[in-house]
Assembly symmetry: C2
Homo-oligomer: 328 residues x 2
Amino acid sequence: MVGDIGGSKSEFAIFSSDDPATPLDFRRYANSGFNSAEEVMEKYLSQCSHSPQTACLAVAGVVEAERAQMTNLDWHFDACALAARFSFAKVVLINDMTALASSLPLLDRNHQLMTLNSGSGKQGAVCGLVAPGTGLGEGLFVRLGQNSFFALGSEGGHGGFSPADKEQLELLQWLQQKVSPVSWEMVASGRGIPALFAYYTQHCGMAPSGRITRELAGGDDQTRIIIDGGVTGDRCPVCARVVELFLAIVGSEAGNLALKLNATGGIYLGGGILPRLVGRTSFAPLVTAFGAKGKMTELVARIPLYLILEKKAVLMGGANFVTGGQRG
Amino acid sequence: MVGDIGGSKSEFAIFSSDDPATPLDFRRYANSGFNSAEEVMEKYLSQCSHSPQTACLAVAGVVEAERAQMTNLDWHFDACALAARFSFAKVVLINDMTALASSLPLLDRNHQLMTLNSGSGKQGAVCGLVAPGTGLGEGLFVRLGQNSFFALGSEGGHGGFSPADKEQLELLQWLQQKVSPVSWEMVASGRGIPALFAYYTQHCGMAPSGRITRELAGGDDQTRIIIDGGVTGDRCPVCARVVELFLAIVGSEAGNLALKLNATGGIYLGGGILPRLVGRTSFAPLVTAFGAKGKMTELVARIPLYLILEKKAVLMGGANFVTGGQRG
């Protein structure tokens, strides 16, 4: 059994030990209906018709050996306690970005990935992961042999934001007056979208459309309203600028990670925001910013850039992590 | 035989296959006396009293499989041609930062490293490398088992510079008028030192001491003059500010790499500039900037930070790379 425990929802799947790419069963639950990780696991195990021996829980939070603590929810995990309670032979706790990185070798280029830059990268070299969701997850993946790899989620999104041009520098200057240091996550994640919107409206004095102003006044999910407002047929000019700037910043950081990791295997974009933009807006600002690295432009241009479309990638990666030969 | 082929000098050493930590022989040559990598290798092999079977050349430049091209010198390397010419059974070409990263498990904490932040990091986890020399090298190291590791030099220094405070933002703004994007290497390397000096004198209107002004007018190595001017007893106020800013920027990037790699094994500082500052100035600006990561400050504070003092680390790393179990 593999669980993907996010800030607002939990997903579970069952895999046989010889095929981490094909879930035999899958269910999703809103966390709001449960008080603890144990409760939602109990619910799933009572509803699925399998009796799994091993559990891997991919947790959106800090994982240290046998314990984990979620970043945005008061849920704790203790591998030994969970194994005892549910009679698992083994419970493995990993960071959700470690799980996502572990899914990379399983993803089919034609169906589960969208190629944004084809490059000429080497198969099997180091890969990087940049995943804007609620926060900004990052990670790395190294193939060591046919059935052996090293995958690791990181807190790279909390590193310092580097503005790529004058507009981004002005944005940083404006944000620095409120908070310092300014991280990539503050501008390149679901949390960052309202900050970009505020920059254009409050600092630059741009006016959003009347519809967006009304929706933001009444709605809950500001991030979703702004993103949808920037890509639907009847676009709000400010929201469209926000989406474009967001894409440019994500692309710039993807290029930075490509350089940091010498990621000749490719950079993979994950998270919930980008797949929702497919077919609704151009990814050109992202791809352009990815390659704009001065004298390293040619080197980065050779690095493939993929967008992960597969929604169960974290679950598949969790299965691959426990069965597929994570080392180190 | 291991060679460390830098922009201005080449160093060679002989190691026995069972001890990559102890060079049996060592010589250094100024590249200016030679026209090619073959010439300097020929010289060394004629002078040393060993007949090595395997050669590993650590090259300051781009290495792709069997060939390498130096960044700052018109020297080319072809592994097969070198093996044939010198009758080596095997010639391995690696990037010099890959070699330096490969030395990390060999370095003795008491004699070859200086601890700048002790942290409470896990032994054997991922390590990162930040090495300001002429350029800014970076790299990563993952221990996979007792005798197995993955080491990789990267072009991370060419990623975008992220200013950590108002002064650094002003610096970026000033530099962006001349070149864009501004990379870490442009401010945190030997090449960057004159740029920081120009920022203080040209943009901020600060006046260097008369001695420094005279030395800069007459001398060749501006970087060395500025660094020495900032740390000697009779300090030039501008040079002292340059050294302090340089240390803060290197520390900030070291903290970023710690987050990107989740480098619980530690961040190692290498390169030629920092060891020359030991005992002559305080590393406090570097250590403070390393940890100043907003809500990730506590996480970074747990990551050990070391300065590599061992001058033969690249040679030792080259020997470890070929004998010590690099995988992947």
